[in-house]
Symmetry: C2
Subunit: 178 residues, 2 copies
């Protein structure tokens, strides 16, 4: 591991059965879980220079925080979209290939890029083994159905467990790519 | 929680993406993971009186340990099967409904029942919210495809996180039903 390279990091919460959200994107099963405010998000976010996400994730974030404004202000933010172009007050839209775009971001030196959300954006990045680090918080509910963090894939990613944090009702697993 | 009641417990290892085994049942991604021998299995097993599992899991266990013999000797063992009846040297086959049979086992007092394996046996028990405790060990690999611990379900199970153990490359999460 060369710390001078730019790192691509997943950080996010899932249910015990591996879902990021219900099928309708709701997070009711997650919000208010004891420990949510103490799990170290602000420490994590302070290490982040660039944020990438899919369009659906961006819309969901803006739907959930209309009054407080965009939560990732002050960071370079890119949103992958098949149709939207240009930029708005918060983000720049990217129509190109997720893998190529992210590879070009990773050529910068010494930055940390956060992948917000999973599913369709995470899938091609995992397939190319581009994700360097994972912080996965597990919330104490088996929700049954939802939007999975990991889509089925032919590609395996072997990880190294760097640390485990127990914060009230959350367990956080910290991995790096092996 | 009344400790005099019989408890139904899941204990088992999964990949980071929630699979118990590859689609062909192989565990190559799990075996030899650092910490496997120290994670406390024998302490757990010493608390168990009764073992239940599906026929496929039983066959896989016998396929993997032909020389060492059946690993759950000395316990009452029940294997759910649609076709096999009677018993063999190790187990008694159960053709009836998984939920009704397990409910009748739970009427005994002060026992602990281990559900070995997940998927089709765990699913109806979760649907009826009969599983009292979970010990889930997470091994440090995203395998991509496999046999999931949790099948999609309309039923939610809210849990309480009792403890988190970090043992070399494993994280173990211990929950009880809320």
């Amino acid at each position: 591991m060369n710390d001078s390279n730019t790192k691509l990091v997943f950080y996010g919460a899932i249910s015990v059965d591996g879902y990021l959200a219900r099928e309708d994107h709701s997070l009711d099963w997650l919000l208010g879980t004891e420990g949510e405010e103490d799990i170290g998000y602000s420490d994590f976010f302070s290490t982040i220079d660039i944020v990438i996400m899919g369009r659906k994730t961006y819309e969901q974030i803006m739907f959930n925080v209309p009054d407080n404004g965009f939560p990732y202000k002050g960071r370079e933010c890119y949103v992958f979209s098949r149709s939207l172009t240009g930029s708005d007050d918060n983000v720049e839209y990217v129509n190109g290939d997720i893998v190529n775009f992210t590879k070009s971001l990773k050529e910068k030196s010494g930055k940390r890029i956060w992948i917000v959300g999973g599913g369709e954006v995470l899938y091609p990045l995992l397939r190319e083994r581009l994700v360097d680090e994972f912080f996965i918080q597990i919330a104490p509910t088996i929700i049954g159905r939802g939007i999975p963090l990991f889509l089925p894939s032919e590609r395996e990613n072997k990880l190294k467990l760097l640390g485990v944090t127990h914060c009230k009702q959350f367990a956080e697993l910290h991995y790096e790519l092996k």
